[in-house]
């Protein structure tokens, strides 16, 4: 009889201890797998990012040092590359080229956002004659290699007297000329339920009011992606300015970078690298600032109604 109360309490700590040991083992296993996973990701990430890190490091090196090793830390850091690079070998500073890029990007991005939204809204929500034919042509343009249209476009802009101006660089995009963005927004819109727009119509909003007050706010993540893409692609566009812009005072940064390679025979790599860093900086800043929306935007669909 006395055994019963004695054995029971003794059995309890045993089970508890076993459970604790199992939990400890589990926690250790999880910790290890987490370490391995993050270690692997960190290594791969570092390999991918190394060129960028090297670029930033090298922009602070002297010209002699740049090609002496693959390390990114400069022995004797110097801002010479930035100072000389900013001055450029032209009568203008690099600031001028940034300003030129800005003058192209601003109307292009705003124009793209407005025109593509309107085009996509029409394709996604309205029935109109020849809708199918028109949408098919949008897709066809999407598949068309850019090169094919270069010469006819050049002739067209020449006849319009737009050569050596920024107009050929932004006007087509500002009139929904980028089929990719129209397509992307159409797909996003199709994934949104039309109920809200119908509710707005019942509430008395006309099509334009519905677009502005209801559709655009819901479209915001996709629109931010569109603006980001357009910003980055324009910033990096080299061929467009090369074809249409001929005066140095109108060069955007992409051409200006090339300029510093062209004009001197033994060119200073640290100046070029320093200016490259400055060139990618705006895109990087904008991207990281808007990263959350950007990812939301390109993973269109899968949103709860």
């Amino acid at each position: 009889m006395t055994n019963v109360p004695v054995t029971r309490p003794a059995a309890r700590p045993d089970i508890k201890a076993l459970n604790e040991a199992a939990a400890l083992r589990r926690a250790r296993r999880e910790m290890l797998s987490t370490l391995v996973r993050y270690g692997l990701l960190a290594i791969v990430g570092l390999v991918m990012l190394y060129p960028l890190i090297w670029l930033i490091g090298a922009s602070f090196k002297t010209n002699q040092e740049i090609f002496t090793g693959a390390g990114f830390l400069p022995h004797a850091p110097t801002a010479e590359g930035y100072i000389k690079g900013w001055q450029t070998s032209t009568p203008y500073t690099f600031g001028r080229f940034f300003w030129n890029s800005f003058l192209i990007i601003l109307p292009k991005v705003i124009g793209t956002a407005i025109s593509c939204t309107m085009a996509a809204y029409a394709f996604a929500r309205f029935d109109f004659p020849l809708k199918k034919v028109l949408f098919t042509s949008v897709i066809a343009i999407l598949l068309l290699p850019n090169v094919v249209t270069r010469i006819p476009q050049y002739l067209l802009f020449r006849d319009l007297g737009w050569l050596d101006s920024f107009l050929p660089l932004w006007v087509p995009s500002a009139l929904a000329g980028d089929a990719f963005f129209v397509f992307m927004l159409v797909q996003f819109l199709r994934s949104l339920p039309a109920d809200m727009e119908e509710a707005a119509r019942v509430d008395g909003a006309n099509s334009l009011q519905t677009l502005i007050f209801i559709v655009v706010p819901m479209l915001a993540p996709a629109l931010i992606s569109v603006c980001l893409f357009q910003f980055m692609w324009t910033m990096n566009d080299f061929l467009g300015p090369l074809i249409y812009v001929s005066s140095v005072d109108k060069y955007p940064v992409s051409l200006a970078l090339k300029l510093s390679i062209d004009t001197t025979e033994a060119f200073d790599w640290n100046r070029i690298l320093a200016m490259s860093v400055l060139t990618i900086l705006p895109a990087l800043i904008v991207f990281f600032a808007a990263q959350r929306y950007f990812i939301e935007g390109i993973s269109a669909g899968g949103r709860k109604g």
Partner: protein, 371 residues
């Protein structure tokens, strides 16, 4: 006056599919009309045509006395509550309620007053500064209701507004909506309601009148009681009521209804009500009106299973190869013991006879038909 009239209303889709087959319906001012039917019966399409969200292919829609076929939704004096609420996700509750008035260009103070008034009625004042995603289903539905209410429309259109809610909430919202309708009516405000649902409980408990639809056609328009007691055809008989009405195939021979080897003598009253003698007939009797028989003429059926519902028991049985259900009290079920065969007697005043070919109820009598 917010009377709604549908005249030969038709809807044909682009692929030549005819969804609505020329329906006629009169909805009186202040009436609560429920459109009910199975999925795909075009009840929502009909409602959307009234709202102006769907193009009318043929016929006319009048709201008040105005032909509204080509009017935009905002000019029809309607407000709509959608199945999934359709709240504007980027606006707070306050913004959602105010949107319609803002579009109308009302002064700010007036909008605020209207929003506060509606919020008070629907008890959503604490929610005014929340976003729709921060609301529960019931709260979102109340906001959607508020958005309709604030416009003071002539006609409220509800498109299955409760189907996304859980059963308990649905029951309380049902009461809330009917109360609101009554309140509006008492205040002398225009309060015609067209309410679409596939749930017959909602239809029966909420509607002043119910319009039962099937495949783009109206099967019967009547009060819930009339619909339950005097279904005009087989479809309505099978659709309204739970458990479903027993529809037993057989033939009329003299004053007897013959099912396989069994004969059920019909009362003189039933025979007198007949407006036709179909070759193939269907006898309709609700499970509640099928009682366990003592002596006298009865149908004997083999008991298959029993569902205990609490105060009553649903008996599933087989009658000459046809499945039937009878509802008996728990006590009666106890008394049955282990019996394998039960004797059932239909209450004669609740017996319906249908023509199997066209589905018409031939047992309604001339008087009911005229009504």
């Amino acid at each position: 006056m917010a009377r709604v009239q549908l005249r030969n209303l038709e809807k044909v889709y682009g692929n030549a599919f005819k969804a609505v087959h020329g329906i006629n319906l009169d909805i009186a001012d202040g009436e609560f009309m429920v459109l009910v039917g199975p999925s795909g019966c075009a009840k929502s399409t009909t409602l959307r045509m009234v709202a102006g969200l769907e193009q009318v292919s043929g016929g006319e829609i009048y709201i008040g006395d105005e032909l509204v076929n080509d009017l935009s939704p905002s000019k029809r004096s309607i407000a709509m509550v959608f199945q999934n609420y359709a709240l504007y996700p980027h606006m707070k509750v306050r913004g959602n309620l105010a949107f319609g008035l803002r579009i109308q260009g009302l002064p700010r103070a007036e909008i605020k007053e209207a929003v506060d008034h509606v919020a008070r009625i629907l008890e959503i004042e604490p929610l005014l500064d929340r976003l729709p995603k921060q609301l529960s289903g019931g709260q979102a539905q109340r906001v959607a209701l508020g958005r309709a209410l604030i416009k003071k429309p002539g006609v409220f259109l509800f498109d299955e507004p409760l189907s996304n809610l859980d059963a308990k909430l649905r029951a309380s919202m049902r009461v809330r909506i009917t109360d609101l309708h009554r309140q509006l009516k008492a205040e002398g405000l225009s309060s015609t309601v067209i309410y679409v649902t596939h749930d017959q409980t909602e239809a029966m408990t909420m509607g002043d009148r119910i319009c039962v639809m099937q495949a783009g056609r109206i099967m019967q328009v009547a009060t819930p009681k009339e619909l339950y007691n005097h279904p005009a055809n087989l479809f309505v008989a099978g659709f309204i009521g739970s458990p479903e009405m027993n529809l037993i195939d057989g033939a009329l021979e003299g004053t007897d209804f013959v099912i396989g080897t069994q004969r059920l003598p019909l009362s003189g009253e039933v025979i007198a009500r007949l407006t036709g003698r179909p070759a193939q007939a269907v006898l309709g009797i609700r499970p509640q009106h099928l009682v366990l028989a003592g002596e006298g003429p009865a149908l004997s059926a083999r008991l298959l299973s029993a569902e205990f519902m609490g105060h009553e028991v649903n008996l599933h049985a087989q009658l000459e190869g046809q499945r039937i259900v009878a509802v008996v009290s728990a006590d009666q079920f106890e008394a049955l013991g282990d019996t394998a065969t039960i004797r059932l007697q239909p209450e004669m005043k609740s017996v319906h006879l249908f023509d199997k070919e066209d589905g018409r109820n031939v047992g309604l009598g001339q008087q009911q038909l005229a009504a």
